[in-house]
C-alpha cells in the first residue's frame, strides 16, 4: 500500500510538482533544471531516454510529469513519449528547437500533452502543472462513466481485499476511487449488508449514467416506464435489467419524496458536483462550495451539495484515515428510506475530513512563490526600472518611420547616439492609422526611449483618438529599421495579400502602469489588449495612454518578418492566433 503523501506537498500544489526532464543536451538540462527549480518544482534530470524509462519504471508514482526533448541519441523522443503514456500514463511534454508543424503534429499524435519550442521560457514551464491537473480530471471522469464493471476494473490499486470495499450501489451515489495510489475507501453498501455479496458485479450510478436513465424515463413517459424499456433506451453495455429496476425504484421514491417535500433543492441526476461528506447523518446541509482541490497526488473534493432534508443524508461514505477522499456523486434522491437506513448506520464519520482550502484560493499564493527571484544585480539606471520592453533585446536598433503620409509620426529626432545602443533598447512601433478616405480613428504610438547615458528615459504616450473604427480603413505601418536590415512590419488591412486580418483591441494603460510592469506581464491577450510580447520585432509593446478613449478595434495584421531572425521568438503556446498568421 502506498504511503499517503505528505500533506505539505499536497497542499502546496503546484509547487513541489515532480518533474522529470530528459534531454541529451547538457546545457539545456542545466537551464531547464534551474528554471523549474525557480518554479518551486522538484526536478530530476536525465540525459538518456533509456535511463529515464528505468527511473520511471523503477519507482512508480515518483513523478508527476515528464518533459522530454524530441531528438535524443539513444531513443527517439516520440518513442519515449509513447512508452511513458502506455506504461505510466503520465503527462509528457515534448520539447524541441524544431517547431515545424509536422513535428508538432507528430508529438500530439503520439500523445504529447504539449510541445514546447526551444528556447523555452520560464513562463511556459510555470504552467506545466495544468497538464497534470487536467489529466486527473479526465481520469476521474473516465472512471465515473465507465465503471460498470467489476471492482477490479474500477479500483486500480489499493486494497486487494474485496471485503473492504463496499458500494452503495442502489443509492444514488457512488464513490469512485480516483487514483492508483489511493488507499481504499470503504463505502457502505446499500443493498447488501453482507460484505461477502460484494463480489457481485455492481453498477455504480454515475451522474452520466443516471442522466441517461432519466432521459430514457422522460422519453418513455413516467407512467409507462418499465425497466426493460429504460434499459433498451439507455443502451448501456453491461447494464442489466435488475440494475435498472432497482434504480427505478429508488428514483420513484425520490420523486415521491420531492413532491411531498416541495422544499429545498432536490438533488437530481443533473447534479454533477462531487462531494464528500460523512459527518452529517441526520442533519441538514452540508457545506456548500465545490472546490476541486488538488493535492499533488490526488484530487479531493469538497462538495457542493444541496441542502438535504433531515434524513436525507445519504452520503454514507466511509472515508479512511488517510484523508484521501473519493469524490462522491449525488444522484437522485438523497433521502434514505428508513428501511434502508442500515447504510446510514454504517457510516463512519471519518474524523479527518478537513476542509481543504480551495484550489483557487491557493493559487495566487503559489504563483507568487513561483515568481523568479529578483536578480541581485544593480539595475542599470541606478534604480530606475527600465521599461519592460527592454527585456527583449534585438540586434538591430530601431528607428521608426511610418510610411503613410497622414498622421505621419516620425521620430526623426532620435538621439543620434541611439543607434549605438543595443537591443536592450526597446523596440517601438509607430503605428499610424490612416485610411485613404476616412480617417476615422488613428492611433499613434510613440517610442519609449531609454537613454542610459543620460540615465533617464522618457515614456511617450500613445494617443488614441476616438471615433468609430472601420477596420478596413485602418492601415498602419510599423517600420523597424536599423542595421543590418530594415524590417517592415505591417499592420495592414485585409486587402493586403497573404495576411489574415486579426482583430485586436487596444486598451489603455496609464503611463504609470507601464513603469511598473512586471517582467512577465502579458500585456495582451489577443482579443483584448494590443500589446505583443516578443512578437518578432521583439520587445515592441504597444500601449496606450489617454484619458478618455476606450478600446479601439483595430483590424491589423502582424507578421513576423523572417528577415528579423532566422527564427522568431515568441510563445506559440500563448499566441496561437498569431502563430497561424505569422510566417516563419
Amino acid at each position: 500500500m502506498e504511503n499517503p503523501l505528505p500533506t505539505s506537498r499536497a497542499e502546496a500544489f503546484p509547487a513541489g510538482l515532480r518533474v522529470l526532464i530528459v534531454d541529451d543536451d547538457p546545457t539545456w538540462l542545466k537551464i531547464l533544471e534551474k528554471m523549474l527549480k525557480k518554479c518551486s518544482y522538484e526536478v530530476t534530470t536525465c540525459s538518456l531516454a533509456t535511463e529515464a524509462l528505468d527511473m520511471l519504471r523503477g519507482k512508480r508514482d515518483r513523478f508527476d510529469i515528464v518533459i522530454s526533448d524530441v531528438n535524443m541519441p539513444d531513443m527517439d523522443g516520440f518513442k519515449l513519449l509513447e512508452q511513458v503514456g502506455l506504461e505510466m500514463d503520465l503527462p509528457v511534454i515534448m520539447m524541441s528547437i524544431d517547431g515545424e508543424t509536422s513535428r508538432v503534429m507528430k508529438g500530439v499524435q503520439h500523445g504529447a500533452c504539449d510541445y514546447l519550442l526551444k528556447p523555452v521560457r520560464m513562463k511556459e514551464l510555470r504552467n506545466i502543472w495544468q497538464h497534470v491537473y487536467r489529466k486527473r480530471m479526465h481520469e476521474l471522469k473516465e472512471i465515473e462513466t465507465h465503471n460498470i464493471h467489476d471492482d477490479a476494473n474500477i479500483l486500480r490499486n489499493g486494497s486487494e481485499d474485496p471485503d473492504d470495499r463496499q458500494y452503495v450501489a442502489g443509492t444514488e451515489m457512488s464513490s469512485v476511487r480516483k487514483r492508483k495510489d489511493l488507499e481504499s475507501k470503504e463505502f457502505v453498501e446499500h443493498e447488501f449488508n453482507d460484505p461477502s455479496t460484494v463480489k457481485k458485479a455492481r453498477v455504480v450510478w454515475s451522474v452520466d449514467l443516471h442522466q441517461k436513465f432519466v432521459n430514457a424515463v422522460n422519453q418513455i413517459g413516467f407512467d409507462k416506464v418499465g425497466p426493460k424499456k429504460i434499459l433498451d433506451l439507455m443502451n448501456v453495455p453491461g447494464l442489466t435489467r435488475e440494475n435498472v429496476a432497482s434504480h427505478l425504484q429508488k428514483y420513484r421514491l425520490y420523486l415521491i419524496r420531492l413532491q411531498r417535500q416541495n422544499e429545498g433543492r432536490a438533488c437530481t441526476g443533473n447534479l454533477s458536483s462531487d462531494f464528500m461528506n460523512s459527518e452529517n447523518r441526520g442533519n441538514s446541509g452540508f457545506n456548500s462550495s465545490t472546490n476541486i482541490q488538488l493535492e499533488s497526488e490526488l484530487t479531493t473534493y469538497t462538495s457542493t451539495t444541496e441542502n438535504f432534508q433531515t434524513q436525507g443524508i445519504v452520503p454514507s461514505v466511509h472515508i479512511s484515515e488517510t484523508k484521501q477522499i473519493e469524490p462522491v456523486q449525488i444522484i437522485g434522491s438523497k433521502k434514505v428510506p428508513s428501511n434502508d437506513v442500515s447504510c446510514a448506520s454504517k457510516v463512519n464519520n471519518a474524523p479527518h475530513l478537513s476542509v481543504l482550502l480551495s484550489f483557487n484560493d491557493k493559487m495566487p499564493n503559489i504563483k507568487k512563490a513561483c515568481e523568479p527571484a529578483t536578480p541581485k544585480h544593480k539595475p542599470l539606471l541606478g534604480g530606475t526600472p527600465m521599461m519592460q520592453f527592454m527585456q527583449y533585446p534585438k540586434q538591430e536598433s530601431y528607428n521608426i518611420l511610418s510610411e503613410y503620409s497622414c498622421l505621419t509620426y516620425v521620430d526623426q529626432n532620435l538621439d543620434p547616439s541611439f543607434d549605438q545602443y543595443s537591443s536592450t533598447l526597446p523596440a517601438f512601433i509607430s503605428a499610424t492609422c490612416t485610411s485613404e478616405k476616412d480617417v476615422k480613428d488613428l492611433f499613434e504610438m510613440k517610442p519609449v526611449l531609454t537613454d542610459y547615458r543620460n540615465g533617464h528615459f522618457t515614456a511617450i504616450p500613445l494617443q488614441v483618438k476616438r471615433g468609430a473604427v472601420n477596420a478596413q480603413d485602418i492601415g498602419a505601418v510599423c517600420k523597424v529599421e536599423g542595421p543590418p536590415s530594415t524590417q517592415d512590419c505591417y499592420l495592414n488591412d485585409k486587402y493586403s495579400q497573404g495576411y489574415f486580418p486579426l482583430t485586436y483591441e487596444f486598451s489603455l494603460k496609464g503611463e504609470a502602469e507601464a513603469d511598473s510592469l512586471p517582467e512577465d506581464v502579458h500585456l495582451c491577450s489577443l482579443q483584448k489588449i494590443g500589446c505583443f510580447e516578443n512578437l518578432g520585432f521583439s520587445g515592441a509593446e504597444i500601449y496606450q495612454y489617454g484619458d478618455s478613449t476606450p478600446t479601439t478595434d483595430v483590424e491589423s495584421n502582424w507578421y513576423d518578418s523572417s528577415e528579423l531572425n532566422g527564427e522568431y521568438s515568441y510563445d506559440p503556446v500563448e499566441y496561437p492566433l498569431i502563430d497561424e498568421y505569422l510566417f516563419a
Partner: protein
C-alpha cells in the same frame, strides 16, 4: 580601474554583443535566472556550452571527413549544435546552423565544408567574446561593484 568606468565599459561591451547579433534574448534570460543561490550560473552554462559544442564540432569534422559523407549524421549533429547554441543565445552560431541544415539537405559536400568553417568561426568568436565578458564581470566584482544587468 575605477568601478564606474568598469561598469560602463561592461555595458558598452555587452550592448555591442547584442547589437552585433552575437547574443540574443536567451542570454538575458539566463542572466535573470542567476541568483544568489547560484551566482555563477551563466558562467556554468556557458562553460557547458563551450565544451559540448567543441565536441560537436569535432564530430562534425570527422563526419564530413569520411569518404562517403553521411549527411543524415551531419544533419543530426548540426541540429544538436543548433539546439545548444539556442540555449545560451548564441544567435550567430544558431543562424549558421540553420543555413547548414539546408545545405545538408542538398547533400552538398563542399557547401557543408564551407558551413563547417563558418560555424566554427562563429563559435570561436562568440566564445572569446563571452570569455571577455566574464572577465569584465570578474573585474567589476573584484572592484567591489555589482554587474549591471539589462532588463
Amino acid at each position: 580601474m575605477e568601478l564606474g568606468n568598469l561598469q560602463r565599459g561592461y555595458i558598452d561591451y555587452i550592448s555591442a554583443l547584442f547589437h552585433e547579433g552575437f547574443l540574443d534574448n536567451q542570454f538575458t534570460q539566463l542572466q535573470q535566472l542567476q541568483d544568489e543561490s547560484n551566482p555563477e550560473f551563466v558562467l556554468e552554462v556557458a562553460t557547458l556550452f563551450f565544451d559540448d559544442s567543441e565536441k560537436l564540432l569535432n564530430e562534425l569534422s570527422r563526419t564530413l571527413d569520411q569518404q562517403v559523407v553521411d549527411f543524415k549524421k551531419v544533419d543530426a549533429h548540426v541540429h544538436q549544435l543548433k539546439g545548444s547554441s539556442s540555449s545560451i543565445g548564441a544567435q550567430r552560431v544558431k543562424n549558421v546552423c540553420i543555413a547548414f541544415r539546408d545545405i545538408c539537405e542538398e547533400t552538398d559536400t563542399a557547401g557543408c565544408f564551407r558551413c563547417l568553417q563558418q560555424v566554427k568561426q562563429e563559435f570561436y568568436l562568440v566564445k572569446s567574446k563571452l570569455e571577455t565578458l566574464f572577465r569584465l564581470e570578474r573585474q567589476i566584482l573584484a572592484a567591489g561593484g555589482s554587474i549591471p544587468i539589462m532588463w
